[in-house]
């Protein structure tokens, strides 16, 4: 089998990214949307690690680490918001959350 | 090829069988210990002095009717106990039972795998255990189990933080994440880390108690209050799995404690030459002995201490243990740098 080249990883991450993207665009449940975002972030991480491995430099992994940190923060805050919103509006259906419109 | 494939598999097999039997007999041991404490005999009926009681239990649980509550989420319902048990067992892969010894002519280290992120591996796998509790409570689709599972997972999460902090301080001491190297560093220093870090051990032990929902922290399962905690709805084999998982976790905590604090397979006072004769006893016997002692303490505590109330429990966790652990880390860090 052909040796695994970083390209393979990139294709994989692109695929994963677009799956996440579709999840964000299509799904109605806010939490699923958040999860799709997590997927997209993971895709990015895969990319980073793949490049780090390709150029034998650990900076990719460090950066991936930071991405994970940010993802954690984002998840915390996002869920907090969902919870607060749910407490007031009793729904997580993104279609019903249309307050911020003209 | 054989080395890399067969030996690990054999090791794994041995490990699994060993663990399962150990767990079973641990249950018996607990009931015996508690009985003695309470001026009674404990199970005597099955086998001499009730020694076969665990076998009876297992058979009972397997035979018993396995009910799934109505409208419960069948997949998750069945998955939950498995999710709880698997991490408990998987963790053992990393624990070094003994030094390089030859077994049946093959020199091999008495541990399944030694990965340089060993300790981290243990912590992360342990953290997966939470899912089982939560999903268990959730899947049974009734009020009390859900409440209990939320409470249990909250407890686990908070104490996991404390435990991890103590491990960090140990890593500082040992200078490496790999379990084997930790033990070797203790050997090198000729000092069990428990004496160097008594506070860390205490926090680790209390954390361990809390993580396995035992003794003073066994509120979620408190029979008296919320009718049996999150595995009320379970019966039969699934309940057995939960039970096994609980005890397996106990063993894990004990095992990790021994490796980290009590010098793994090292004999007491490893550096003291005088006690050379103690070397006769092979490393892994010491390991098992120390683990047994710790387990006994687990059981002993359960029999005596009353139960913490939930909020006291959380307060203890967050306001006492975690700060202490962090302080400990800082102190050790300074100590390591200075020494």
């Amino acid at each position: 089998m052909t040796p695994i080249t970083p390209a393979h990883y990139l294709v994989l991450s692109a695929a994963l990214f677009s799956i996440g993207l579709i999840g964000v665009l299509v799904r109605r449940n806010l939490i699923v949307i958040f999860m799709s975002i997590e997927l997209m972030l993971n895709a990015v991480n895969i990319n980073l690690v793949a490049f780090s491995q390709q150029w034998q430099h650990v900076v990719g992994q460090v950066f991936a680490l930071f991405v994970v940190a940010v993802a954690a923060a984002e998840a915390a805050i996002g869920l907090g918001i969902i919870l607060a919103f749910y407490r007031n509006k009793e729904t997580v259906n993104v279609d019903e959350i249309t307050l911020m419109r003209w | 090829m054989i080395e890399t494939l067969v030996v690990p598999l054999v090791k794994i097999a041995v490990l699994l069988v060993g663990i399962l039997t150990a767990v079973a007999y641990l249950v018996l041991l607990e009931r015996k210990v508690q009985a003695w404490v309470q001026v009674r005999l404990g199970p005597m009926r099955v086998g001499p002095h009730g020694l076969l009681q665990p076998v009876a239990d297992v058979i009972k649980l397997i035979i018993k009717e396995d009910i799934t509550p109505a409208r419960a989420d069948r997949w998750v319902y069945t998955l939950a106990p498995i999710i709880v048990l698997v991490p408990a067992l998987v963790v053992f892969a990393v624990i070094p039972f003994g030094p390089e010894t030859n077994v049946f002519g093959i020199r091999m280290p008495l541990h399944v795998a030694d990965i340089n992120v060993g300790l981290l591996y243990i912590v992360s796998i342990a953290s997966l255990g939470i899912y089982g509790t939560i999903l268990g409570g959730w899947a049974s689709n009734s009020k009390y189990p859900l409440l209990a599972s939320l409470r249990a997972s909250a407890q686990l999460v908070s104490y996991e933080v404390a435990v991890t902090m103590t491990l960090v301080s140990m890593i500082l001491m040992a200078g490496s994440l790999s379990m084997v190297e930790i033990v070797e560093s203790q050997q090198a220093r000729g000092l069990w880390f428990v004496f160097a870090q008594p506070l860390a051990f205490f926090i680790y032990f209390v954390g361990g108690l809390a993580e396995t929902n035992r003794a003073p922290f066994d509120l979620p399962e408190a029979e008296q209050e919320l009718t049996g905690g999150f595995h009320t709805e379970y019966s039969g084999i699934r309940f057995a799995l939960f039970f096994l998982a609980e005890y397996a976790n106990m063993i894990v905590i004990a095992a990790v404690a021994t490796t980290l604090f009590f010098g793994g397979w090292l004999r007491p006072f490893p550096s003291v030459a005088a006690l050379g004769l103690l070397d006769i006893v092979p490393g892994w016997i010491w390991f098992l002995l120390k683990t047994f002692v710790l387990l006994y303490v687990f059981l002993w505590v359960r029999a005596t201490l009353p139960r913490y109330r939930y909020d006291q429990l959380m307060r203890l966790g967050w306001k006492v243990l975690i700060p202490l652990a962090i302080a400990n880390v800082i102190v050790t860090a300074i100590a390591v740098v200075v020494l």
């Binding site: - | 309470q38 509120l219 209050e225 919320l226 009353p306 139960r307 109330r309 939930y310």
Partner: protein, 380 residues
């Protein structure tokens, strides 16, 4: 059946919250000392409101007594507070004697006092065991029951029964003490004194125990009186009230003993008060045995007990608190016109909702234990 007490309907939700739960601490709950039903409304862990439901053990003792003659009623009193049957009998007999104005021989008084104190010890042992187990200390429960076995043996030796003694007769006692009985009692007292020390070592200084009982279910003296507390819980709140001292009956005035009084009125104080009562009871028993006079055990009592028309009320200090008997007879019939009992458990139980409000679910269990109620007495 429809829920007789639609608690949820009557009380409007204080504040809309996603997870306000209504939990039934149902009749058959491990820590409810019998068939007490407690409907709790929780706000997360905190108890917002509680409603006590009783009546599951109601046998209509008071109504039954109206169709029985005066001596048969003694049997009924056994089954009220089944943990402390002796005190019930004593209370009932003394009330009838008071109504009829009978004179009870001093030896009977002394024996009655010994039996009452033994009964108090037994009741407190049961209380301590269950209370500790509720809070998690399982082993303490076993120790306590072990001691209680000794007391039951003593009673069995005297009146043949372990629980429903039927140990009193109007006017005196059914029989005199068996030979060597008092020696066994003295041995028992020594064992109890020694065991009390064990319990104190086990619990009194235990961090977790303190954590679970200190400042839990605090009741001030004034509130205690207002709410109708009696017995150890009342004394724990700092109110000096003991029927044995205030209105001495049987032979109490002849013995020297002091009444333990608590300060803060929380669960821990009640625990300390009852622990102290152990010591006082053994002390009384020893004094009684030492000073046991000789003489008949049964006063002059007409064959057919027909108390004159009238009504009276007489209270004695049962282990749970002040138990009072009110009997009214029309003078003609053999059975009482009206027989009413003022049970201490019932009075202490009514405080429970106030005690529980604001505490956590785990505390509810401890609080039920601390007021030491027996549903038999509550429901009658």
């Amino acid at each position: 059946m429809t829920d007789p007490h639609p608690v949820t309907a009557t009380r409007t939700p204080v504040q809309f919250d996603t997870d306000e739960l209504v939990i039934n601490m149902g009749p058959q709950h491990p820590s409810t000392h019998g068939v007490l039903r407690l409907i709790l409304r929780l706000d997360g862990e905190r108890v917002v409101d509680a409603d006590v439901v009783i009546g599951y053990l109601h046998r209509g003792i008071e109504k039954l007594s109206e169709s029985r003659d005066w001596t048969q009623i003694v049997l009924l009193t056994d089954r009220m507070d089944y943990v402390a049957a002796a005190t019930n009998n004593l209370g009932y007999c003394e009330t009838v004697e008071k109504l009829m104005g009978l004179e009870v021989p001093r030896r009977a008084q002394y024996i009655r006092t010994v039996l009452a104190e033994l009964q108090r010890l037994a009741s407190h042992l049961v209380w301590l065991g269950t209370h500790a187990m509720d809070i998690g200390a399982v082993t303490v429960f076993l120790y306590c029951l072990r001691e209680r076995e000794l007391v039951l043996d003593l009673f069995e030796e005297y009146c043949g029964a372990r629980l429903t003694y039927n140990s009193r007769r109007v006017g005196g006692l059914p029989a005199d003490l068996p030979v060597g009985w008092d020696r066994k009692v003295r041995e028992f007292c020594d064992i109890v004194d020694q065991k009390i020390v064990d319990y104190e070592q086990l619990l009194t200084q235990n961090r977790i125990w303190l954590e679970r009982t200190r400042d839990i279910g605090v009741i001030s003296g004034a509130d205690a009186i207002a709410m109708g507390f009696c017995g150890p819980p009342l004394r724990a709140s700092g109110v000096m009230r003991d029927v044995r001292k205030d209105e001495p009956y049987a032979a109490y005035e002849e013995f020297a003993f002091d009444i333990p009084v608590g300060a803060a009125g929380d669960t821990y104080d009640r625990y300390l008060v009852r622990l102290e009562e152990f010591k006082q009871s053994t002390r009384i028993i020893r004094q009684a045995l030492d000073g046991m006079p000789e003489g008949p055990v049964m006063g002059k009592v007409p064959r057919l007990i027909k108390p004159p028309a009238g009504e009276t009320y007489h209270a004695i200090e049962s282990p749970k608190g002040e138990i009072g008997f009110f009997i009214a007879s029309d003078g003609k019939s053999l059975s009482p016109y009206r027989f009413r009992v003022r049970p201490p458990s019932f009075c202490n139980l009514q405080v429970l909702p106030k005690l529980v409000r604001g505490h956590l679910v785990a505390d509810v269990v401890a609080l039920i234990g601390t007021i030491d109620i027996v549903l038999g007495e509550v429901d009658r």
